[in-house]
Symmetry: C2
Subunit: 331 residues, 2 copies
């Protein structure tokens, strides 16, 4: 039925070994032989079976990607970075959504290892100790993309979330605000914890008392951000530091619904800088997260591990910047 390497060998009057050599670009084949084999391959429509190849060579040229939710634009952007570099290095990607559910993450890890992936890129806001344990004993290299493991046991690619948040807060403080609200995503996420820490520290460093009522935890959605604004209203914030662009748009709408002007009455700094930031009115000043790059660099790092290269530093920190737009008063 399907044509195998054996069929090609017979048809071309050579051994399977020789066919294998030409298929794999091995130079030890006489040009004439190569040509003959290639011709037969063409005629028979031979297509190498990657599964058999994987079994024999113990390499599948596919990597696993465990991601919270591909329909979330942040992760989609990360995934694109991963995939582009994977393609560049001739790897395919097995992509699975975990919904940040630990059991699912554990099970996905298991499935992927079973499928003999050559490496894994893992994303999650929280890395449980059990997960960490499994990752450490993984026979296959793993890198965390935009995800933090405090023990630094697993390679990872991130930005300085704390530093970025601190700088954003600093800007708001420098603009004279003392009532700055923080509309955050879930604090179960290490990244949000870092932002909170920066929020507090920046305030303290400026001798501004931290008012816990100005801190609100939401589920990252537009709707909850609007609600957050209403909850915060009695506490009269004059500036908002917001965890992502979607929520920032919610904040804008909430604030405007209450009759306040941005940035005249209220300033906002977001944290993501997706294309939404430019589609908002006013356009959002935002910490620019290099999501695509985090994905790309993670995958690149993974290729090094897969090649058995020695890595100098397994924790890579990418640069961020703050994109100033109309939601803040700028110099």
């Amino acid at each position: 039925m399907t044509v195998t390497i054996y069929d090609v060998a017979r048809e071309a009057n050579v051994s399977m070994a020789t066919v294998s050599r030409v298929v794999n670009g091995n130079q030890n084949v006489k040009p004439a032989t190569r040509k003959k084999v290639l011709k037969v391959i063409e005629e028979l429509g031979y297509r190498p079976n990657a599964v058999a190849r994987g079994l024999a060579s113990k390499k599948t040229t596919t990597v696993g990607v465990i991601i919270p939710d591909i329909s979330n634009s942040m992760y989609a952007e990360l995934a694109r970075g991963i995939e582009d570099i994977a393609t560049m290095y001739r790897y395919n990607i097995i992509l699975s959504n975990s919904d940040q559910n630990e059991n699912k993450e554990l099970q996905l890890l298991e499935t992927m290892l079973g499928k003999q992936v050559d490496g894994i890129v893992f994303m999650s806001d929280v890395i449980s100790s059990e997960l960490l344990y499994e990752m450490k004993r993984s026979p296959t290299p793993i890198v965390l993309a935009g995800s933090i493991d405090d023990s630094n046991a697993i390679a990872s690619v991130n930005i300085d979330y704390y530093g970025a948040a601190y700088e954003a807060m600093k800007k708001l403080i420098d603009n004279g605000h003392t009532r700055i609200a923080f509309v955050s995503g879930l604090f179960s996420s290490k990244v949000n914890k870092d932002k909170l820490k920066a929020y507090r520290q920046a305030l303290e460093d400026a001798s501004i008392e931290v008012d816990e009522q100005l801190v609100i935890e939401c589920d990252n959605s537009y709707d909850e951000a609007i609600e957050a604004v209403n909850t915060l209203a009695p506490h009269k914030p004059t500036a908002y530091f917001v965890s992502n662009d979607e929520m920032s748009i919610g904040v804008i709408h909430g604030v405007e619904a209450n009759g306040q002007k941005i940035p005249e009455d209220v300033e906002i700094i977001s944290y993501e800088n997706s294309k939404l930031a430019r589609m908002a009115r006013p356009m959002l000043t935002s910490v620019a997260l290099p999501l695509y790059d985090i994905g790309a660099v993670s995958m690149r790092l993974l290729t090094k591990y897969m090649n058995g290269e020695e890595i100098e530093e397994n924790q890579v920190i990418l640069p961020y910047r703050i994109e100033e737009r109309a939601s803040t008063k700028n110099a």
Copy 2:
């Protein structure tokens, strides 16, 4: 090094066949034996090798997904639908971006077939005849998700793009508009061609002359949509039919920048109904595309083909609806 089925068999004093049976949940194993084997599996940390299994069984339990761009929210939504159903049926997904580049699509198809995927979900605005030819001779089932092949040779899941566009236009016409602009994505896309056809037909059916100057083709981006509004301004449209939510937001901003009010001076109907539609101000009336469902149903259909089930109808059409919001004047 790694523990194989053979190690387990030896340790448990049974044959590999028996181990294979318990691993695969075959009922023909005495409970005591099963228990013994399970225990050894546990002790040894045995993990079945899916590659070997795939080679022996000729099934990989993985399906290929060829998608234009996962970082585009429309496709990400589709992908999520696909993945969820795949997971439900225990399939994994190999995901690749094609950027709608025909050569890449062709090559991806080849790669996935080489990897022995059990099925493929394919997405693309344009299905070239060469692609169609390759798909037809694919040894593995393929279904098109949200993509059209006029010949109906390949199974597909879509909505009635034409009908949806016609209905949207009808609504605008019923609201009294005679100068309706169409801000479209690329006409190389079959879906956009259908919308254009509906645009014209709806106008004709209402005895309104079609003014080609009111039709603008853009690249689906926010920025080009704003530009489109400016290009259209001299032709004084009083309503806009727009190809997707992102562009609709561009239209809103373009229109407002010109001092017009929505929906008082200008009405807008979008075509997508992503969460952006609710995040826009005014909120967008929009044709609701069931992207997630298209993905899910495609995958479900694929499972049927992979199981060799007989399919009554290979062209499935899902329902759409129009979500009325503030960008149009409603009854």
